[in-house]
Amino acid sequence: MRTTDNNGREFDNTADDPRQRAELVTGGLGFADVTEVVSNVAERPRPPLAWYVALAISVSLLGVLGAMILYLFSTGVGVWNLNNPVCWGFDITNFVFWVGIGHAGTLISAILFLFRQKWRTGINRMAEAMTIFAVICALLFPGIHVGRVWLAYWMGPLPNQMAMWPQFRSPLLWDVFAVGTYFTVSLMFWYVGMIPDLATLRDRARGKIQQVAYGLLALGWTGSSRNWHRFEIAYLLLAALSTPLVLSVHSVVSFDFAVSQLPGWHTTIFPPYFVAGAIFGGFAMVVTLAVPSRALFGLKNVITLRHLENMNKIILVTGSMVGYAYAMEFFIAWYSGNLYERFTFMSRALGPFAWAYWTMIGCNVVAPQLFWFKFFRTHIWAMLLPVMCVNVGMWFERFVIIVTSLSADFLPSSWGGYYPSWVELLTLAGSFGLFMTLFLLFIRFLPSIAMAEIKTVMPQAEGKGPRGFDYNPDEYESPGRVLATGGSH
């Protein structure tokens, strides 16, 4: 399979000619080739060495996470450095960070679907999977931070003999519902979308185990028109249902802070600002995972440079929205004339946590500006720089919001500092282990690209294209299509 053009470079389909749409699958692939390329990831006898190395590291970190949680449960939350006034630290920072990461998947699958963004098909499956795993990581933290974890079920509205009921006026409870709903619907969306591709893997499977496993998961999919008809209705409805969820989840997370009266927490822009930030961080994580995945598993023709460039543009857009929100917060803090508001923001920029604040600004506002340049949007190593910055910066954003506001509120006598304990640091590292383990298993054993969907956006789907019928080469000449003439196998 060719993944480079005649000059030995990766196919560049990022050229921008308004007279025609760029192709989203490069290398002159036809329908059967797409199935081959994608199924190969799950069917090849053994994955590349790098996959084993990554899995070994991830599973080790997962073990660390397990050990840290065990230590926490057996000893108590005192093993974390939380105290008055900073009673939320790494735990809730990690929670918000992971929930945020879990936004890109559903945005891509639902909102970009409604916006008819065809390029979403190359990355939606991977992004949705990432969403599920990120939300699993997120759900972990509120669960373990409650202290007496054996009473965590109190968060649910379960009838009990004490007639005790959750506090419905608390945004912390809304979180349980919002994130729970989001997880359920995202999981359904991901799974429903995967059914046709699971059936493909089932039909191609050579071993008995694979046949049974994929067969069970494929729910008897036959590929009949009736199947497809119902599938498409279900998909559209799930997209419509997921769209408000993309906005609601992080809005509710922002309410955890914004309903309070604490300067730096109580501000009305929080809901849309958190949503923009979540998409920002989520896309950065998708790029982070897509870049090695496409290289390791030979997916460069389906996750093309154009897909990466588009995602980088979204990172620039949402990063700018986040920058706008920072600016509004700062301006209104001054404009309010309120002493405490003004102090909080000056203290963020110049106080004891200034290093965290400027890390956040540098990573979230300054670094994405590199994406104004096409070079950074379309060169792998160049794009990883801002993308990695965003991964770091979005963690720090939550840290800055949570810790600076708690550490210095209205009364100087109740101020206090915070630094994490080794348990907190290792728990954070461990959560990456959980996330990566799940992701590595997914990419190896499930259809990591939405094969069926990607075929609908190829020119062949409209009766045109390099290997479809009715192909007219003149009609398809574009800077990115040198390859069409050059045979693909």
Binding site: D17, V259, I269, P271, G337
Partner: protein, 421 residues
């Protein structure tokens, strides 16, 4: 692309001879209504000033929605919207007249009021009243921003940006009508990105300066987004309505199909929901936080006759249009969609009314009740008609000068062949 629609038989230009007289009549009627409003307004200068400011903000919001729409289509390289984009470009030609209409407000604030206006100006924009500011430490703290000179400079900058940006977008698009050069599309796409920054900042600070500063002790970081949501909503509604009226008059009948209008209808629906989301976020957080400086603004709107307006917005700006627009049918029946568009334009007008008209009370010890101002409603209605007719006539003249669609846009065929799945 499935098939290409033949538009050679379509009428895509308004004949100047036919439409100029209507434009003139509209402008005359508009001026007449404004004169009547000014005459009646002599009995209540504060009401008159508020009515004028609110209508200014209303019409500016629609033009801003149009400007954003054009920028967004270029930025996202949209294909479907090419056939309706020119209408949006033409709407933005209203900016020079809007700048002219905004000039009296700036002058009044700069001069501290003319012809007995000082009291009214001080009541409407309390931060212009030096004596009042001297008593209010909070206002002194923000005096470096809220002062007449800087206010005038900022407004001049906003309008200059909007006039310049919209003139540039239209002229490039018209240039493409002549040359058909695809490089123009690429250039517009490229420069729309930084233009968005300019748009976002000017819109936000316009909303802060002209609307939020009516209650100078009040603040809300989401306020710019709130104004933006209404702007986009009302623009999409006006677009649907305009297409309907033009098609009834026999124009662009083939070029713009029910598929395009379905999408415009979806945008109206989306921005109904977005506005509600933003309005809810602002209200809920302020209500829950219960900090007097913030709740005072809502307290005024929940006393006297204003509570009725608050509830009307809750039901009429969210629930009703949400239910009306959620299904597919109304978005694909042009007459129904046009009717809903009229409704949305009225309800958005009431939203701006709700932002601007209620009086400002800062004394929390004595909030009193704010009686609903009937004279203000009359004046606002008159000015809405007057300024609206004036602007409609002005824009209609410009519409009659240019083709109604970008005739040689490289994505025109894609747009013509567009269908919803």
């Amino acid at each position: 692309m499935q098939h290409v629609i033949d538009i050679s038989s379509d009428r895509l230009r308004l004949e100047e001879g036919r439409w100029q007289p209507l434009a003139r009549r509209l402008q005359t009627a508009g001026l007449g209504a404004i004169v009547v409003a000014l005459a009646i307004g002599a009995f209540g200068l504060e009401s008159l000033l508020r009515a004028y400011v609110m209508n200014l903000c209303y019409y500016v919001s629609i033009a801003l929605g149009a400007l954003f729409f054009v920028l967004l289509q270029h930025l996202t390289r949209a294909g479907w919207s090419v056939v309706v984009r020119r209408l949006a470009e033409l709407f933005t030609t209203a900016f020079p007249l809007l700048a002219l209409l905004a000039a009296p407000a700036v002058l009044l604030i700069l001069t501290g009021g003319l012809l007995g206006f000082p009291a009214a100006v001080h009541q409407v924009y309390p931060w212009t009243d030096a004596q009042y500011v001297a008593k209010e430490p909070l206002l002194q703290a923000k005096a470096p921003y809220l002062n007449a000179g800087f206010f005038a400079v900022r407004l001049a900058v906003y309008f200059a940006a909007w006039v310049g940006l919209s003139a540039w977008l239209l002229s490039r698009s018209l240039e493409q009508d002549r040359t058909g050069d695809p490089a123009i599309t690429r250039g517009l796409g490229k420069w729309s990105a930084p233009a968005m920054y300019l748009f976002a900042l000017t819109l936000t600070f316009f909303a802060f300066d002209v609307i939020m500063s009516l209650a100078p002790s009040w603040y809300s970081t989401i306020f710019g987004v709130y104004y933006f949501a209404g702007a986009m909503l009302s623009f999409c509604a006006l677009l649907a309505l305009t297409v309907h009226l033009l098609q009834r008059a026999g124009y662009m009948v083939r070029a713009v199909s029910v598929e395009h209008m379905h999408d415009v209808g979806k945008l109206v629906f989306a921005f109904v929901v977005f506005w509600s989301y933003i309005a809810f976020s602002q209200y809920m957080l302020i209500w829950y936080g219960n900090i007097p400086e913030e709740t005072a603004w809502y307290a005024v709107r929940q006393t006297g006759g204003w509570i009725a307006l608050s509830l009307l917005l809750l039901f009429g700006h969210f629930m009703l249009p949400f239910l009306m627009l959620i299904s597919r049918a109304p978005k694909r029946r042009l007459q129904v969609l046009a009717g809903l568009a009229c409704y949305v334009l009225v309800i958005h007008w009431l939203d701006i009314y709700y932002l601007v008209m209620p009086p400002y009370y800062f004394k929390l010890s004595d909030p009193g009740t704010a009686p609903f101002d009937l004279l203000g409603l009359l004046l606002a209605g008159l000015l809405a008609v007057g300024m609206g007719a004036l602007l409609a006539g002005y824009v209609l003249r410009r519409m009659a000068m240019h083709p109604l669609i970008p005739e040689r846009d490289p994505r025109l065929t894609e747009s013509l062949a567009f269908t919803n799945i």
